[in-house]
C-alpha cells in the first residue's frame, strides 16, 4: 500500500515518454511519405493521392492521439479510464451471473414442482403414476422452453426443429404409457397363475410338466388381453399412441423437408402435388378411353 503513490508518477512518466516518442515517429513518417513516391503520370498521381490522403489522415490521427497522450493531464485521464475497466467487467459479469442465477432458479422451481406433482399421486401404482407425473411435468413445465417464440431469418426452421424435439419427448412418454398398459396383463396373469397353482397344490393336482404351467399361463394371459383390449382405457391409450406417432411423423417430415429443400431433390410435398395431378389426369384419360371405345362399338 505504501508503494502505490510512488508507482503512479513513474507510470505517468512512462506513458508521457511513450506518447511523445510515438508522436515524433508519426510526424517523421508523415514527412517522409511523399518523398518516397517517384515521378508518376498525372492521372495515376491523382489516384495515388487519394490513398495518400487517406494514409495522411490516419497518420495525423495517430500523431494527434500520441500528442494528446503526451499531455500529463490526458495520460492521467486514460489511466483512470483503464482503472475503471475491471469495474466495467465486474458489472457486466454480475449482470450475466444474475441472469444465469435467475434461469437456474427457474429451473430449480420447475424441479421443485416435480416433487409437488409426484406427491399428489398414489404410490401403490407407482410406475403408472410416475409416467403420468412425468408427462404432466413435461407438458406444463419443460415443454414451454420449446415453445419460446423464435426470431429472425431462421425462425421457421428453428420452430420446426423445436417442435420435432418436443414431439419426440411426448412420443417417448406416450410409448412408455402404452407399453405399460400392454404389460399389465402379463403382471396380472402371473398373479392369477400363482393363485391357481396354489389352489391346485392344495387339491393335490399340481401339473408336473413345465409345459402345463406355460399353457395355463398363456391361457390366463390371453384372457386378460382380451379383456384389456375391449376396455375404454386401452382404446384411449391406443388412440393417444397413434396420435402421437402421427404428430412425431409430421414434425420429423417437416424438418426433413427443410433439409431436402437445400438439396437438388424434390420434396414429398412437391411429389404429392404431382401424384394428385397424375391421378386426376389418369382417371380422366381412362374415362375418355372408355367413352371412345363405347362410341367406336356403337359406330360399328
Amino acid at each position: 500500500m505504501s508503494e502505490a503513490p510512488s508507482e503512479k508518477p513513474a507510470l505517468e512518466k512512462v506513458m508521457e515518454d511513450w506518447a511523445a516518442k510515438s508522436a515524433e515517429f508519426w510526424k517523421t513518417a508523415l514527412e517522409t511519405l511523399p518523398k518516397a513516391i517517384p515521378n508518376i503520370p498525372a492521372t495515376e498521381a491523382l489516384l495515388k493521392n487519394r490513398y495518400l490522403e487517406a494514409l495522411e489522415k490516419l497518420l495525423k490521427g495517430w500523431q494527434a492521439l500520441s500528442a494528446t497522450m503526451a499531455d500529463p493531464a490526458a495520460a492521467d485521464s486514460v489511466l483512470r479510464g483503464m482503472s475503471t475497466v475491471p469495474e466495467f467487467f465486474l458489472r457486466l459479469s454480475k449482470a450475466g451471473w444474475e441472469a444465469s442465477v435467475l434461469i437456474h432458479q427457474k429451473a430449480l422451481e420447475t424441479a421443485g414442482k416435480i416433487g409437488q406433482k409426484v406427491e399428489g399421486y398414489r404410490f401403490d401404482d407407482i410406475e403408472q403414476e410416475l409416467l403420468k407425473a412425468w408427462r404432466e411435468i413435461y407438458e406444463e413445465e419443460f415443454r414451454r422452453y420449446f415453445q419460446i417464440p423464435t426470431l429472425g431469418l431462421t425462425r421457421y426452421y428453428q420452430e420446426r426443429l423445436n417442435r420435432l424435439v418436443d414431439q419426440w419427448n411426448i412420443l417417448q412418454t406416450t410409448v412408455s404409457e402404452f407399453l405399460y398398459v400392454l404389460y399389465l396383463p402379463v403382471e396380472r396373469s402371473f398373479q392369477v397363475l400363482q393363485d391357481e397353482v396354489e389352489a391346485m397344490a392344495k387339491e393335490g393336482r399340481l401339473p408336473q410338466r413345465a409345459k402345463d404351467y406355460y399353457n395355463l399361463w398363456v391361457k390366463i394371459l390371453e384372457g386378460h388381453y382380451m379383456t384389456l383390449f375391449k376396455s375404454p382405457e386401452y382404446l384411449s391409450a391406443l388412440r393417444e399412441m397413434l396420435k402421437q406417432v402421427d404428430n412425431f411423423s409430421v414434425a420429423k417430415n417437416q424438418v426433413l423437408q427443410d433439409i431436402l429443400q437445400f438439396l437438388p431433390v424434390p420434396t414429398t410435398k412437391e411429389m404429392d402435388e404431382l401424384y394428385r395431378e397424375l391421378y386426376q389426369l389418369k382417371k380422366r384419360v381412362k374415362e375418355l378411353e372408355k367413352k371412345v371405345s363405347r362410341l367406336e362399338k356403337a359406330g360399328h
Partner: protein, 415 residues
Amino acid sequence: MEQPKISLDLILANLAAEAEKAQETVSRAVDVLLGPLDSALATTPYDVVYQEDRVKLKHYRSPGGVTFKTPLLVTYALINRETMLDLQPDRSVVQTFLNGGIDLYMIDWGYPTRKDRFLTIGDHVNGYMDNIVDFIRERTGVDKINLMGICMGGTFCVIYTALHPEKIKNLVTTVTPTNFDTNQGLLHIWMRAIDVDHLVDTFANLPGDVMNIGFLLLNPARLMLDKYVGFFENMANKAFVENFVRMERWIFDSPDVPGETFRQFVKDLYIKNLLIKNELEIDGQRVDLRRITMPLLNFYGLYDHLVPPEACSLLTSRVGSTDTEDIALDTGHIGIYVSSKSQREFAPKIIRWLRERDGEEEGAVAEEGKKEEAPGAAPPPPGEARAASRGPVKKGPTRKGVPKAPLKKIIEETL
C-alpha cells in the same frame, strides 16, 4: 393349515428331462435350419394376361384342362397377398380349383406406393375390377363371369356385383365383412376408435407394418409368444419348419393400403356401416344390395377373430337373390383357406356349387325362386322371407331344385 401336496421331486425330474429333450431338439434343429429348406410359396404356374398400373391379372395354367364354361375371378383383399390361396402344393385352394376344372383368374393388387395414395374404393371397383372383368369376358367370349371375393376383396366383390350385376353369373363371398355394426371382433372396435383422418394425412398410405403390429396386438399371447414357443418345440421337424417359414413369409408380406381407400373403408363401412343399409355411395352411385340377384354362396369362420360371423352372416338376407347359402366353418380367418380340414371342405364345396350353376340360363334361378312365393302376396323386402327359413349359423342352400349333396360326397366327387 393344510400342507399342499406337491411332489417336488417328480416336478424337478420332469424339468430335468424336459431340459435334456430341449437340448436334443436344438442340436437336431441346427441341422434343419442350416440345411436347404423349401419355403417357396405360390408355385402354381400362371401367366400375367392383363396389367394396369400396379395391378396384374393372373391366369393359372390348368394341367387337367378346363371343364367349366364360366371362368372364375378371385379377388383378394388389399391387405396381405393373394399368395395365401396357393401357400403350398398340398394346401392350395388354387390347385384344388384347377384340379376341379375351373378356368381360374386372380387379381394381384401389387404393392401400392405413395403414388397410389389418392385411389379410392371406386377406383378399385369401377376401375381396375371392372376393366379386368371386361377383359375376361372379352377373352373368354362370355357375357358373365363367376366372382369370388376374400375378406376385404369380398366386400369389393359385393359392391362390384351390386353396381354391375349384368356381368356376374355367380358370387362367392368368403370371410367377407358386410355388416360392420358389431363388437364381436376387436378390429371392429379399434377401427371405430382410431382417428383415420389423422392417420391417412400423416402416412399417405396405411403402412403394412402398422397393420401388422395391429394384427399381432389382436392376440399377443398367441401371436407374439405361443406361436414361437410352438416353433421352438418343433424346429427339429423339417416339414414343420418349412410350413412355418412359408406362413411367416406370407403373413409379413404386407403391402401398404392406399390411403383414400383405407379412409373410405373405415369411415363409410366400419363407422357408418353404410353397405348393409344400402346407403353406400361409390363414384356417385348408390350400392343397392338388392341388385345382387344371382346365386350367392357365403362362407365364414366361426372362430374368425378378424371378421366375426356377425359381420358376414347378414349378407344373404339382404341381397335380392333367391339362391343363397351360408356356410359357417369350424375355423378362423386364415384357417378357412389353409387348414387341412378346410382343404377337404372349402374349395371342393365351391367347385360343386359353381358346377351346379355353370350351365344355367341367366335369370332362371331368380325366376324359380320367385315361383315359391305365395300367389298374390306382397313381395317381402329382399332376404326377409328367406331369412326366416334358415338357421342362424350353418345353413343349407335355399334354392329349390338343387339337391343337397352330403359334404363327404361332394369331396369324393371333386377330388
